[in-house]
C-alpha cells in the first residue's frame, strides 16, 4: 500500500468564520480576514458570516487616512477571486443599524436570523474572532 492510500478519501469539512466585531476598534476583523484568505487555499467548504457589529466591517467608503491605520476593507473584494462565495449577512443586524445591502462593499447574501441559524447548525468547524 502506498503512503497516500493510507490517508483515505479527502475530507471536505464545512468551515464557518463568524464576525461579530466592528472594524478598526479592534484587530479581530482584519485578522479574521487574513485567516479566511488562507483558508480559501484549502479544498474545504468555506463560509463567512457577518452578524451584530460584524456587519460594519463591510460598510462602503471606509477612509482611514486620518486615523493612521491601514484600510483593509478593499480586501473583502478579493474574497470572490479566492472563490469564497458563501458570504452571509444577518438581516436583523443590518436593519437595526440602519444599513441595507446597498451600503456594503461587496455583494452578499442577506439572510433572516432564522435562516442563518439553520446554516450555522450545518457546519463542521466554526471559527470566531
Amino acid at each position: 500500500m502506498e503512503p497516500w492510500e493510507e490517508e483515505g478519501p479527502e475530507v471536505v469539512k464545512r468551515f464557518m468564520y463568524v464576525n461579530r466585531k466592528a472594524p478598526y476598534g479592534t484587530i479581530y476583523a482584519l485578522e479574521c480576514l487574513e485567516v479566511v484568505l488562507i483558508a480559501a487555499a484549502f479544498d474545504q467548504d468555506v463560509s463567512v458570516v457577518f452578524v451584530d457589529d460584524g456587519v460594519y466591517q463591510l460598510k462602503k467608503n471606509q477612509d482611514t487616512a486620518a486615523i493612521g491605520m491601514k484600510n483593509f476593507s478593499n480586501t473583502y473584494r478579493a474574497l470572490d477571486d479566492y472563490d469564497v462565495e458563501k458570504i452571509y449577512v444577518e438581516q436583523e443586524s443590518l436593519e437595526s443599524r440602519g444599513l441595507t445591502a446597498e451600503d456594503l462593499i461587496i455583494p452578499v447574501e442577506v439572510l433572516a436570523g432564522d435562516n442563518l441559524r439553520e446554516i450555522m447548525a450545518q457546519q463542521d468547524v466554526v471559527i470566531s474572532s
Binding site: 468551515f15 479581530y28 485567516v35 487555499a41 484549502f42 474545504q44 470566531s128 474572532s129
Partner: protein, 119 residues
Amino acid sequence: MKFGILVNEGPFTHQASDSAYQFAAAAIEKGHQVARVFFYNDGVYNSNKLSEPQTDDRNLVDLWAKLGKEHDIDLVVCIAAALRRGIKEEVLKDGFRISGLGQLVEAGIENDRLVVFGD
C-alpha cells in the same frame, strides 16, 4: 478523540489562555489527544519566554510548554500575528514553533473538534 485548540488572547489579560489550558489538561486526563494548539491574535504572547509572573501566580508560558512536551502537543504560533506583535525566535519559548495560518485550517480539518478560546 483528537482536539485542536485555538487561543486568541495573551496570558493574564484575558482568561482565554487559562481556560484553554485547563480544557487541554482535562482532555488529556480523560485520555483524549490534544494534537495542536494554535496561538493567534494576541494569543502569540503565550510563547514569550521572557514572561515572568509574580512567584505566587501561574506562568502560562511554562505551563503550555510543559504540557506540550509531556503530551506531544504541536504548539504553533501564527507568524503573521507574531511579527506585528514582536514575537520572534529570539524570545520564543522552547517547545513552541512559529508557522503560518494554514496550520490553523489544518487543525480544523484533521481534528475531531476545534475549540476556540478568546475575548
